[in-house]
Amino acid sequence: MKRRLWPAQLALLAAIFVAWQILTQPGLLPPFVWENPDRAAFFFGEPVKMFQAIWAWFADGTIYRHLWVTLEETVLAFLIGSLAGLAMGLWLGLSPAASALLDPYITAMNAMPRVVLAPIFMVWFGLGIWSKVALGVTLVFFIVFFNVYQGVKEVSPVVLNNAVMLGARRKQLLRYVYLPSATSWLFSSLHTSVGMAFVGAVVGEYLGSASGVGYLIQQAEGAFDINTVFAGILVLTAFALVLDFAVGRAERRLLQWRPGQSETEQL
């Protein structure tokens, strides 16, 4: 059962684009939904033109600046959100009083759709990268916070007592037991939180900015240029895949102490 799947996966992708092109290219098929032969291309775009748009972006290099801005926002949102979530999770996890006091606020803020904060951040931080970073941070923070909080709560009491008996003082417990346990939960939420940072960046750009891939999409949409909109989406998707791959690599390095499904060696 060790067959390589990627040729089939690539073939499927090619088939989707070919079918898309056949169905939307004006004049290729007799019109069967709309009277106007250009209508399908107007709504759904044509893959060939999308790839031409992407090619143009990369050929003249305009895309790199926008990709860089989006990446910058994503990374900053992830880092700031993770650090804040880690600190807050550790604090509330270790302090039952604070946790009881803040519980309703945390629940309320998590339940609130945070995208509506984007206009406020725009007013506070301007049209530059920081309003997007702020939006990403609000998304990342809660994922990390809940994971770390859980991580602190679920530290095995035996491991804790064992560390105490080995001579760990309070501060050392924090550093040697709570922090590693909490960060392991943080790392296991890495895929979700990086994804959320990315969402925050792109949505922020889309709602108002002067650069970034979200901005490109928004501009093209304003001109009813559906091909460029799809081109932007394709670039974003590819970018997200690369990001996810990088996260997967990092995760494997950082969590190598965790038991995998069948890698346990009994000797």
């Binding site: 491991v159 007592n161 080995l166 346990t264």
Partner: protein, 270 residues
């Protein structure tokens, strides 16, 4: 000379849970473990053996009574005791070596010095070359060895062991018991060894204390084990003196075990 560990009229009562009555786990416990003595404490399941050990470790404050360590009343964590838990106590995110050296690190001994001593102890418990494995990559017996090295590297004068080998299979278990005896005889420490297995208790110890069934557990028997050392835990079980001792102690325990069993059954039924 004062005893290494001495319980004086120790009682532990746990606060009521959700309307139920308060539960007295142990009561009127007075017993002493001499310096360099290996004492096993046996008793029926759920009789509060671990409670006593937690008191000796300073993890649990007794409701009344005094615990003395080398003559001094214990306040806070017992810094002169090593504790080997029944359940997994290793830090899963640290390699075997890092787990063994954790106690040194807590005491400010780090770097090459800790590493060297850690490797030495890994070798002594038969795990040379396994230092970079994480706990999940080790078998149950190997994890117990790491826990043993983790405790012994700090050279505590008192060892508290809570059914440390109960999760192991029989062969691994007698191997570990022999290794424990060997390590102990090289550097005699005072040991409080909790177990529910009478054979294990007799084959390892200088003295066996029998506890009554809970609640309000207290010692009801104290048997010196005058078997020659060094011992092999598998072979000593066949010696006639061992069998005679086993008989005597078992007789004193039997009623309590049945009582404990009946209580557990009632609790399940009710």
């Amino acid at each position: 000379m004062p005893s290494a560990v001495s319980f004086e009229n120790i009682a532990c009562t746990f606060a009521a849970r959700a309307g139920g009555p308060a539960y007295t786990a142990v009561k009127d416990v007075t017993l002493a473990v001499g310096e360099g003595e290996f004492v096993s404490v046996v008793g029926p399941t759920g009789c509060g053996k671990s409670t006593l050990l937690n008191v000796a470790a300073g993890l649990l404050r007794p409701s009344s009574g005094t615990l003395r360590i080398f003559g001094e009343p214990l306040a806070g964590i017992n810094r002169r005791a090593g504790y080997m838990f029944q359940a997994e106590g290793l830090m899963p995110w640290r390699s075997a070596l890092a787990n063994v050296t954790a106690g040194l690190e807590f005491r400010g001994v780090g770097g090459d010095e800790a590493r060297r001593r850690g490797e030495e102890w890994l070798e002594r418990v038969g795990l040379a070359g396994f230092g970079d494995r994480f706990p999940h990559q080790l078998s149950g017996g190997m994890r117990k060895r790491v826990a043993l090295a983790q405790m012994l590297i700090l050279d505590p004068p008192i060892l508290l062991m809570d059914e440390p080998f109960s999760a192991l299979d029989v062969q691994t278990r007698s191997l570990m018991e022999n290794e424990l005896l060997e390590l102990w005889s090289a550097n005699r420490k005072s040991v409080v060894f909790i177990t529910h297995d009478l054979e294990e208790a007799i084959s390892l110890s200088d003295r066996v204390i029998v506890l009554s069934a809970g609640p309000a557990t207290r010692p009801i028997g104290d048997f010196p084990i005058a078997l020659p050392r060094p011992r092999d835990v598998a072979e000593i079980r066949l010696v006639p003196e061992f069998i005679a001792l086993h008989d005597r102690i078992w007789h004193s325990m039997k009623d309590e075990v049945l009582k404990g069993y009946a209580q557990t059954r009632n609790r399940v039924a009710g």
